[in-house]
């Protein structure tokens, strides 16, 4: 299993559950250091607002859950929502 796989699977799953067009969700992992990954999230136009939520509530929840997933692998994870 590659580094950050759990983070990627969790973020992709959650985002896919929230958007109206799950088939257009893309999550790309970027290595930022030996123990740090960044998940870049891309969605169909118009879906990003849903993923971020009012005042960023949903985005914050996704980041928290992503870090919980990263803890499973002893990593630090960030999530970036790319417009």
């Amino acid at each position: 299993m590659a580094k950050g796989d759990i983070v990627k699977s969790v973020v992709a799953y959650v985002v896919g559950q929230i958007v109206s067009r799950p088939e257009e969700v893309q999550v790309t992992l970027v290595e930022r250091g030996p123990n740090e990954v960044l998940a870049e999230v891309r969605t169909a136009k118009g879906d990003m607002g849903r993923v971020i939520g009012r005042r960023g509530r949903v985005a914050r929840a996704i980041r928290t859950v992503a870090q919980a997933a990263a803890d499973e692998e002893g990593l630090v994870a960030g999530v970036e929502f790319v417009d």
Partner: protein, 277 residues
Amino acid sequence: MQWVEVRGKTIDVAVEAAMRELGIDDRDRLEIEVIQQPERGFLGLGGKDAIVRVKPKPARKRRRRRRKGKGEHAATQRGRGRENRKPRRERNGARPARSEPKEKEAATVEEREVTIEEQTRVVEEFLRGLVDAFGLEGEVKTRLEDDVIVVDVIGPQTEAMVGPRGSVIEAIHELTKTVLQRRTQTAPRVRLDIAGYAERRRQALTIYANQLIDQVLEEGGEIMLEPMSAADRKVIHDAVAAREGVRSYSEGEAPQRYVVIAKVEEDSEDSAAAEEE
């Protein structure tokens, strides 16, 4: 009437788990509805668990409901104590909707009721998938308490989904509500616990609250607690409500909202606890 919904590798496994949950050891005393037949996956992938919904059979002597004729059997009714029920729509051969005015009236109520069960399904599926995405072993159990969807994610590995001071549970709760909103355009109340954390926290908070109540009763005045989540404040309010001579209320704006425990003054009429939340 309370029902529980359980998943398992096979229908039998799921039913047994449900029987343990309900504390019933005689299968004949259960009403069992199979929601999903199990499917074997290919090479362990893509299989589906069995899902059953189970509740105790109503006792014989139970008050008879007015029969509405036309092939409605008591056994297939989803008894939650409302009048004028009609068959559930969809699933396992829905009956064609009838258009008699009387049934129309009932439709709103029934519609809502069906919806909460669908909502429960959405919640359960979302959380089941999340546990899988984490690569963890765990079970998701749902039940309805009044109109609240109560969900327990259980299994030792699911500890990983709790987080410091339950922060990950809170995030997952937020996401669950978001998914419900997106999928069903509704916002039912959901209570979520993972790995028994909320229950342990509730117990610890109750003990803590009782210590503070003792202190207030002894010394008079008020004690302000630290800011807490709505769920935690509720635990404090409940603990206070269970005791004589004290009352509680909340002040401040979330996330800085906190509970105050106060001694009830002799001449005060106000012995009510927790007005709001």
